[in-house]
């Protein structure tokens, strides 16, 4: 497919400002939040309507041009990495909130609406949208659907998949289908669960209806410092075992605490080995009851310091430190690489211990930020891309950490998605037959393999090469994952 031919065809559908072709215009689309992977797309299309999206997909289907859908590009796994011979389909201009129903507690929005904008629009009705990924100021709901995004509140309020009722999806053939519905369930297979987290490989979402929740009467947070990571891990289990489901339960290690404290001055205990933030929400009385219980549990687990936020401002600051942890680490290192494995929580001490050993082995610092309540770890590997070979070492260390997560019964990705980044580790988590089932499922939606090809599910060839590579021999495709 020639670039000019596609451009001409697209221009029959779209106005001039909706198709980008010049290199300087394509440049901003060359990567997503995982900037180590870059690739200029052939073209970028910026439709303003569902009709336009349908026409673009019909055209690409006829011409067999691969399509990579994109929101604001905050993804962390290279899920929106363009293809040299493909079209980037930006949904950023479909950015209207179509309807807020305060009585039925739903919001109907276009895919390019930012996550936080939904809660902002619902607030005057006493409602909010629960999933709150750290990028919520910038990330779009369409991207959240693609990745099944989580956030710090998902132990209690669930992931994207638990908070979406209905999607309007354009199939690869350009057909508009409704998946899910306005009721709590719909007939037939649960295609909604299948679409959510499918990384743009099954269809293009053009409208989303989310469920809104009443804003809790009160939220309060307890900060606890520990001189030992294991004690902090034990405290997490004890809180859950006591029958309390915290709204958020986060852990940071010393390196992350110090980086965050230097950055936002949240008042964190910088000499602690680990710190827990435990938020409980609900009715006023319930919060008071649970805060007391949480404080006692933290102390009995050996916390060296336990603090309850004294004001709403302090509560916000405690959280701001956590939510800024990634950029904070970015200040103490030229580059960092964020991992996303999930483990059964009781395996935390051994995983952290092994991570520390690996960090020494590879001579790279690792800061740990951890959604402790649900076992989702975000080790941040600190590196300097200007040092020859350091990125490669970082990726290898990252791969080892993910494989460690699989080995203890966890998963390579809790909320960031597989994308291009973790595609090799898919060969570790799943066997050949399981991967083939994924491919068969993909064909049910996209027989020509045009929607975001090369992401999410590895080819058999890639897996056999990666296995060879792991066994210490050379490998082709597995090493050259679209990096430039």
């Amino acid at each position: 497919m020639k670039k000019n031919e596609l451009y001409t065809a697209l221009r029959r559908i779209l106005p001039e400002d909706a198709v980008l072709i010049e290199e300087e215009d394509l440049r901003p689309y060359e990567c997503d939040g995982l900037s180590a992977y870059r690739q200029l797309p052939m073209l970028v299309a910026l439709p303003r309507s569902v009709d336009e999206v349908q026409e673009i997909l019909r055209l690409c289907h006829d011409l067999e041009v691969p399509v990579v859908a994109r929101g604001t590009g905050t993804g962390l796994s290279g899920g929106a990495l363009p293809l040299a011979d493909g079209l980037v389909l930006s949904l950023a201009r479909l950015n209207r909130i179509l309807d807020i129903d305060p009585v039925g507690r739903t919001a109907r929005v276009q895919p390019g609406v930012r996550n936080l904008a939904i809660s902002d629009a619902a607030r005057s009705h006493g409602l909010y949208y629960a999933p709150d990924p750290s990028s919520q100021i910038a990330c779009t709901i369409g991207g959240n659907i693609a990745e099944n995004s989580g956030g710090v509140h998902c132990l209690k309020y669930g992931l994207t998949v638990h908070n979406v009722l209905k999607l309007e999806v354009v199939t690869v053939e350009g057909e508009l289908v409704t998946i899910g519905g306005d009721a709590l369930d719909s007939p037939g297979y649960d295609l909604l669960a299948l679409m959510i987290g499918s990384e743009g490989m099954l269809g293009v979402v053009v409208e989303v209806t989310v469920r809104l929740l009443p804003i809790p009467e009160r939220a309060q947070v307890v900060l606890a410092a520990f001189d030992d990571v294991e004690k902090a891990g034990t405290a997490v289990g004890e809180i859950i075992a006591a029958g309390i489901i915290p709204a958020g339960l986060e852990m940071m290690d010393r390196l992350a605490i110090r980086a965050a404290e230097d950055f936002v001055h949240a008042g964190y205990p910088t000499d602690a080995a680990a710190m827990l933030l435990c938020e409980v929400d609900g009715s006023n009385q319930e919060v008071s009851e649970h805060i007391l219980a949480v404080r006692e549990l933290m102390q009995s687990c050996g916390a060296t310091e336990v603090r309850t936020a004294r004001s709403e401002g302090e509560r916000q600051r405690f959280w701001q430190g956590r939510k800024s942890a990634f950029p904070a680490v970015g200040r103490i290192s030229p580059d960092y690489y964020c991992m996303d494995g999930t483990i059964p929580r009781h395996r935390l001490p051994e995983v952290l211990k092994r991570t520390t050993e690996l960090s020494r082995e590879y001579d790279l610092r690792v800061a740990n930020v951890f959604h402790a309540g649900d076992g989702n770890m975000h080790p941040l590997i600190l590196y300097d891309a200007n040092n020859p070979g350091e990125l490669e070492r970082t990726e290898e260390l990252g791969g080892k950490i993910l494989e460690l997560c699989v080995a203890v019964g966890g998963t390579i990705t809790g909320e960031h998605g597989v994308g291009v980044e973790k595609i090799n580790q898919m060969c570790v988590q799943f066997d050949a037959e399981e991967l083939e089932q994924f491919r068969a499922l993909k064909r049910a939606f996209d027989s020509r393999q045009l929607l975001n090809p090369g992401k999410g599910v590895p080819t058999p060839r890639r897996c056999s090469e990666y296995r060879l590579l792991r066994a210490g021999k050379g490998g082709g495709e597995a090493q050259e994952v679209g990096r430039s």
């Binding site: 039925g104 507690r105 297979y189 649960d190 987290g197 999930t342 959604h371 966890g410 990705t413 089932q437």
Partner: protein, 354 residues
Amino acid sequence: MTGDREQKILEQLQDAAAEGTPVCITGGGTKGFLGGQPRGIPLDVSGHRGIISYEPKELVITARCGTPLAELESVLAGSGQMIGFEPPAFGEHATLGGTVAAGLSGPRRPYAGSARDFVLGVRMLNGHGQNLRFGGEVMKNVAGYDISRLMTGAMGTLGVILEVSLKVLPIPALETTLVQSRSPSDALDAMVNWARSPLPLSAACSDGERLYVRLSGAASAVNAAREIIGGEPMEEGEAFWRDRVREHGHAFFRNAGPLWRISVPATATTEMLPGSWFIEWGGAQRWLRTDLQPKAVQAAAAEAGGHATCFRGGDRQVGVYQPLSESLMRLHRNLKQAFDPQGLFNPGRLYPDF
């Protein structure tokens, strides 16, 4: 022992595949009434039972498909936990596998989530007899397509569920049921309005004359909400929700004739169709007794933004679930093909087409 059971299931499946005869997957035999008429050689998986792992602090339990629901519930209760979606059993022999395959949820559903919301992982056999594991035992897992949730509610048409991992919840410190005399439309307004406030609701239904509300949570929260909601406390609240609502022991469900399940937005009118109604799930699940033709019931449900299922006692030949649009049906057929190309599993149980 367990390996033997699994091997036996696989051999039976392979025999069926060799002969091209479909199988009818059965567990405790409690949900044979649901969906299309069961067809095929019975593939009994009820012997494949037992809890594989349970870590109360992880809020996760993994068990084999034939494990009785009652056994799971009693083990969980021993650690102060429960199955969050309060699944209907419809008989003492109900199994975990059947519960997940049927995808039914009980009174707690609108407030705590549905069966699929709690499914974290499955091990299954597909139509090629391949033993596959998807999802896992962790709350957050986005590696690969979400096949474990796809299996939930698929009525066994995509494969044999061998094992399931479920997220579980702590049993609330206190539960109280309140009763008020209210007309159905009054009751519905109240249920919808309460759900707009951060109240610890965990069930709400109207039997036509009375409104029943259950509150669950910390004692302080429940007691505070009681003041706001009002009504008479119900002594036998626990049994009411379990036996009469969840298990359909209420007189409404015991009448003869077709029982329709109408799933609509909670805000849908109570004047949808003539007939006798039992409103559940805070308005989102409604049960209807009517002599109207299936087409009329399904058209009205669609008009109201939802769908209708002939749950029990209707003509199972005509299709009990709301028909899908042609494009959705094509995706369904493609998916069926992707998992079970020979059409071995539970033919006609979900839709007459496959």
